[in-house]
């Protein structure tokens, strides 16, 4: 008997269908039944095994097997088999045997006598003792994508030979099996994609929860964050401190993916937690930097601006770790950029341990402060150009007095207007000191006093003396303070305490503010508020040039030691106010009068 190979394609046209045999009805029934099975069954392996079983029985073959091409396309693996010999798990090269031939050529094949076919692989027979005489094989493929093949062995009935009808049926079944496999694979991929997407969305949700809630229009600090992807490497935060000031943060983690998002979460959490206790931006950054250096993945870093704004007087102190220079916009529209004085967090663990991250201090004086990431300045606008720092400045100018919310919304709209995906996360924080200037009403601590019925936040000026900053003037100052404190209604040790605090504060001026004794004056203003005595102590030492804005170690100006300790022990409030316009330093001491309405104790 000669080996006869009949191409499946000859049989696949309408003509083949026209060859109506009595069994066509049964063929269709089998096809329909197996199609339903493929569609409904969840377990692909069980379905394929059933399919091989049915078709082997229907065609009346001795054995049947289903082979799948491995993902790399180099191997064929037997997934299911029926018959006297179990070959499930058998592995062939992708072009080995009749099955390999069919898969490679994407064509069906009838081999009437394997002895005459050069592709026949006799190794399996010799191993199992099974005698293969004839083979019917059809590939499983969908739109040219090869999936595997189904092979039937040794027809039992009739002349013992597979015929064209058998091939036609097997090809139809193979195709639907192929489709079932492909569907199953795609649904697995979809499930996996869905899972990853869902996880990213959960991560993004947690990230959003790390951002502060939108602030009220009257709150002076606000921010926006528009991620370029689902998760963001940028973050911002702001929260009130217990002394009425407001801490704010804006950071940009290197990279944009999930690792950046995780480092962002860590950094933001550390800063928020520690920032409520450590009200010195420079020292806070030193601590967080050490932590990030110890634990962050190599090569990742965070550029960051950490600051504190005082809504009572417009004072800002901030530390900039390698970040884009924030912009201060004065009421007259002029801009000042505050350059970074230190490397990003996560670069050098010990470089700054000694002195901490340098801080910059300045007064907004009714202006505004914008802190932003490079996603803003490097964002594309509709013209296809980068928004740029000038774009931001123009937009701030054109917003005029419209408030920072207007600017934030305008920036977001401007960079988003191309409709194209963002190049990078867009994040801005704005501090608005115009609110303070506009309202002019007491806020924060002063507001509490106002509620308590005080006639004014600063009270009535009782006494002002300006003397040469010399040790032998201290007695005069003490006596003046003593009489004034008694006048304000203080009794007992409170009088001595106030005298001590003022004396110590004046000593600090004499010893530290001026180069030598008697070089300048010291001015003391004593005020009486309903609930307190307020003392303003001012020196006229070298004025601090606000425009020059350089990092300044506060301890240089505020001598530590016993005197400072005594002042803070006896006074209810001790604040260094922003330098007056003509320079010098201004210290404000407040001592509450016991028993007044606003005295919380």
């Amino acid at each position: 008997m000669t080996a006869e190979t009949i191409s499946g394609e000859v049989l696949s046209g309408g003509a083949a269908l026209g060859v109506a045999s009595p069994s066509v009805h049964d063929h269709l029934e089998l096809l329909a039944e197996m199609g339903r099975d493929f569609a409904s069954n969840q377990d692909l392996d069980v379905t394929l095994k059933n399919a091989v079983q049915r078709i082997t029985e229907y065609v009346d073959a001795e054995a049947g097997a289903l082979f799948m091409l491995s993902p790399c396309g180099l191997k064929l693996l037997c997934n299911a088999c029926v018959g006297p010999v179990e070959i499930t798990g058998l592995e062939l090269a992708a072009d080995q045997g009749i099955v390999g031939f069919c898969v490679q050529n994407d064509d069906g094949k009838i081999v009437r006598d394997v002895a005459d076919d050069p592709n026949f692989n006799a190794a399996v027979d010799s191993e199992t003792g099974f005698k293969t005489r004839s083979i019917l094989c059809a590939p499983m493929s969908v739109k040219g994508e090869r999936i595997g093949a189904i092979e039937l062995i040794n027809k039992r009935g009739g002349d013992g030979l597979f015929d064209n009808n058998d091939l036609y049926l097997l090809q139809a079944l193979s195709s639907s099996a192929g489709l079932a496999v492909l569907n199953a694979r795609m649904s697995l991929q979809l499930v996996e994609q869905e899972r990853v997407k869902r996880e990213l969305e959960l991560a993004a949700e947690i990230q959003r929860s790390l951002l502060p809630p939108a602030s009220e229009a009257s709150f002076p600090v606000s921010g926006v964050n528009v991620p370029a992807r689902i998760v963001s490497g940028d973050f911002y935060d702001f929260y009130p401190l217990d002394d009425g000031r407001i801490a704010f943060t804006l950071g940009d983690v290197s990279g944009k993916g999930m690792n950046a998002a995780l480092l962002m979460a860590k950094t933001a959490s550390l800063l928020r937690c520690l920032g409520k206790a450590i009200k010195e931006p420079g020292r806070l950054l030193t601590l967080v930097n050490t932590e990030i250096c110890e634990t962050a993945t190599r090569g990742m870093f965070v550029t960051l601006v950490q600051g504190i704004y005082d809504p009572e007087n417009g004072h800002v102190r901030l530390a900039n770790a390698g970040h884009e220079p924030p912009l201060v916009v004065a009421p007259d529209g002029s801009f000042t950029a505050i350059e970074a004085e230190a490397p990003p967090l996560g670069i050098a663990p010990s470089l700054l341990d000694e002195d901490g991250f340098p801080e910059t201090e300045f007064n907004l004086n009714g202006g505004r402060l914008f802190v932003f990431t490079d996603g803003v300045t490097e964002g594309y606008v509709e013209s296809g150009e980068e928004f740029g720092i000038d774009g931001l400045k123009d937009l701030i100018c054109s917003a005029g007095d419209g408030g920072t919310a207007l600017v934030l919304n305008a920036v977001r709209a401007r960079i988003g207007e191309t409709g194209a995906p963002l190049r990078d996360d867009v994040t801005i924080v704005a501090v608005d000191d115009t609110l303070r200037a506009n309202i002019g009403a007491p806020q924060g601590k002063a507001a509490k006093a106002a509620e308590a019925g005080a006639t004014g936040t600063q009270g009535e000026k009782l006494m002002q003396l300006r003397v040469s900053a010399r040790a032998n003037r201290l007695r005069l100052i003490r006596n003046t303070v003593k009489e004034t404190a008694t006048f304000c209604g203080f009794v007992g040790s409170d009088v001595g305490d106030i005298v001590l605090a003022v004396d110590e504060a004046c000593q600090n001026v004499i010893r530290h503010a001026y180069g030598s004794e008697g070089e300048g004056d010291i001015s003391i203003e004593l005020r009486h508020r309903v609930d307190a005595m307020i003392i303003l102590i001012r020196d006229f030492a070298d004025p601090v040039d606000i425009s020059r804005i350089k990092p300044r170690d506060l301890d240089d100006v505020r001598p530590g030691g016993l005197g400072t300790h005594l002042i803070s022990e006896v006074m209810d409030e001790v604040d260094f106010l922003p330098p007056p316009i003509d320079g010098g330093n201004l210290l404000r001491l407040v001592k509450k009068i016991k028993g007044t309405a606003s005295d919380g104790t």
């Binding site: 040790a471 201290l474 001590l500 004396d503 000593q507 030691g561 016993l562 005594l566």
Partner: protein, 110 residues
């Protein structure tokens, strides 16, 4: 500020009066340190001190440390209300040995 040094019952009694402040504390310091190395216990009478500031307290602390090195006892006696308040604020009222009267101080070191 003025000060007066007397020997009393084998002790050196230094009595200050007036304010010990930034202006006068260098003198107070000099007077105190002059007693260090003389062997006898040092009693500092602060009954006449109406005011003492951090620089005055610092002088007392320095003298306490020096007298310890030289093996001398160092006591504060009859501390005025105002001075005691500052020592308490500075948390130094436990660091110094303080006696209510001069006699108690003399008894304490003998």
């Amino acid at each position: 500020m003025e000060h007066k040094v007397e020997e009393n019952g084998g002790t050196l009694v230094i009595a200050f009066s007036g304010d010990i402040d930034l202006q006068s504390s260098p003198d107070a310091r000099k007077a105190l340190l002059a007693l260090v190395g003389k062997g006898a216990p040092i009693l500092v009478d602060l009954s006449g001190v109406g005011y003492i500031d951090s620089s005055g307290v610092a002088s007392l602390v320095e003298c306490l440390q020096s007298s310890k090195k030289s093996g001398q006892q160092f006591l504060l006696v009859s501390v005025s209300e105002g001075a005691l308040r500052v020592l308490q604020l500075a948390r130094l009222d436990r660091v110094f040995k303080i006696c209510a009267t001069l006699d108690e101080g003399i008894a304490a070191v003998s």
